[in-house]
Subunit: 432 residues, 2 copies
Amino acid sequence: MTELRIGLAGLGTVGAEVARHLLNPSAELHKASAAKLVLRAVSARSATAERGFDMAGLDFEAEASSLARRDDIDLVVELIGGADGPAEALVSAALEAGKPVVTANKALIARHGQRLAELAEARSVALCFEAAVAGGIPAIKLLGTGLAANQISRISGILNGTCNYILSEMAATGRDFSAVLAEAQEKGYAEADPSFDIDGIDAAHKLAILAAMAFGRQVDMQAIKIEGIRPISALDIQQAEKLGFVIRLLGVAARDQTPQVQPCLLSAESQLAKVSGALNAVEFDGVPVENIICIGPGAGAGPTASAVLADILDIAGGRTGPAFGRPAAQLQKGVASAAPQPPQAFYLRLEVADRPGVLSEITAILRDNGISVAAMLQQAAGEAGRASLVLTTHQTSGDAMQAACDRLAGLDVCSGRPLALAILNGDMMGQG
Amino acid sequence: MTELRIGLAGLGTVGAEVARHLLNPSAELHKASAAKLVLRAVSARSATAERGFDMAGLDFEAEASSLARRDDIDLVVELIGGADGPAEALVSAALEAGKPVVTANKALIARHGQRLAELAEARSVALCFEAAVAGGIPAIKLLGTGLAANQISRISGILNGTCNYILSEMAATGRDFSAVLAEAQEKGYAEADPSFDIDGIDAAHKLAILAAMAFGRQVDMQAIKIEGIRPISALDIQQAEKLGFVIRLLGVAARDQTPQVQPCLLSAESQLAKVSGALNAVEFDGVPVENIICIGPGAGAGPTASAVLADILDIAGGRTGPAFGRPAAQLQKGVASAAPQPPQAFYLRLEVADRPGVLSEITAILRDNGISVAAMLQQAAGEAGRASLVLTTHQTSGDAMQAACDRLAGLDVCSGRPLALAILNGDMMGQG
């Protein structure tokens, strides 16, 4: 049996878990591997921190990129993180040196994926990043193997566990966004600087990678329309629930449409609505398979290690192909011909002055934009003569809704910009 | 690009769908294939039936096995069905002749899988059967690729769409089993002879294959404990709902335990409980991935073709290994050391005489078997002095429950055998 000698950079929770499996001779992956897997050298910030495995016998490199230059390393695993800096330097150097790379780094792949895929192809080595998307859910391998014969029409998913945890907690406890976020930060579920997660960037990285794989496009973060969950209030969640919906941050990439990450209303009866807490889910629509949903832990040491190790096994078994499923030169730049988004129903919340005539000003603007109100849900009096006005609309174009929101935001009686959330399964809305 | 010349036996709905994709040059699978896929010859009952594609240009073989003997065929696809007869003859002959085989035939693999895997290995060709389990859900490829690094501890699933449709319809309409079955037969969702589905045999075939893959065992139908859904009444579904549960036919294979197919109560809040209609679901528990659930269509031309075509792509790309994931000689015979089932709570329904003293006779038998009653749910008066008695128990062993049911069935006051259904998430039951 040939040996596959591994250099591992980054020994955080995921890196340490990967190392423990590689160093444990009775771990399942050794039975499944076509090559003898040997962890040869590691790189991390500290050479001496306690990580639950014996560092003796492993070479230590203070500089991660040094792993790429060692003759006794056949495969580099990058678990440092960050779109640039030492992670990018290591991955580029390893591919340049003709070594296959496994990474969990979604920011790196979302930003530099095309260039790195081209480099890997030029050197005829594999670049694998299953762990970059949806943690333990093998979404990339599903596209490349189990669903390989399908023309995928749409991928959607709950791709950020922090957002899903916050939205689930808000629904379970009735508390407002900021209180739940603060608690999540205390518990370590959210970062001290949470913007990467709650503003939808992290989900967009993953969606960019999935869209590239599914539609044969160059990975392109700029192409994604991104809205985060900061504007979602306890009132929104409560009103959605009354209508039979839950609010989820959903990434949606449909063939020939602009991919979007946005909070939206999902029927409470839908499978994705049941995905709560820090779970992730990826839904595939395609021909001929119809519809497949895969649900699992989107982060955490074990699930992420499962994905990293599966990539190592693919490389050991020679089961790899081009990084994005087809030769990098064949990947299209941008959406071929972006079709307009199909019309959707919307949930709309406005903070307004609580005085006569406001409603008629607002409904006139909606009418002027061709938007028809389905139901007026709530007109809760707030502080100091302000009120929250919640309504739902019949199906309308996203452009019309955006134009209406622009005008509504300019009204004296409105504070701030209205919150407009797409309602998926809009056909379940009342008539009015 | 090398050519892979295909012989396809069986042109029912799935076979015709597979043929249409192979014959359509713009179908996605041709872009994804490492070899040029050419459908060369077919075999079916009729050479002339209209199937939505042009048979001209395809050789026709009246006898399926003839496909195995043709020098101009590199790969045989078997979609005839049935554990023996022409399907078995074709698959054996093809492997014997050194041709790789793709089949959707769960009965064949469940009965002859070990022998066929040995034969395939001896001839160094692939035997692939993704489509035999859970239709469009790539459960086998998930085990072999995305989850390959995991030690799987448990696989469970909703593996028979007919049963799931019947149970879902009973819950939605309140009708009884026989009425819904008759309607399902009229609509073509259930066979004229439905026993294969509703008695759990079909689900057991699939569970046997999954257990073999996940635990490195020889596929063994005899090892599975099977109960079907015939005894489930509208009353059971209604009572389960009151308790916050739904009834599903679940296949469960845990490492070192006897695999079981049985109707059971699942928390209505669980992900599997939301799997309704003809959908299938497969849940994987393992280390380090924790828990992954995959949901999708368990049957139908498109989804099954998706799985068949994915196998063809794996063979075209040289991405195949041993049929059951490890060399056939390494597969264990039987469960190594069957551990006792962990204790479970039960739902129990008895048809009893409606007269004083009956309850004390019954509860005495439960007490004698160490079974503690959690809640007495219903004592509905029926016809002619009979009543349905429904209760739930605290956690107890399956053996104790079986012994109690044996004794209860022998009571003069009981008609027939009591129905005992395991309650998964038994911790959610009331105390008493």
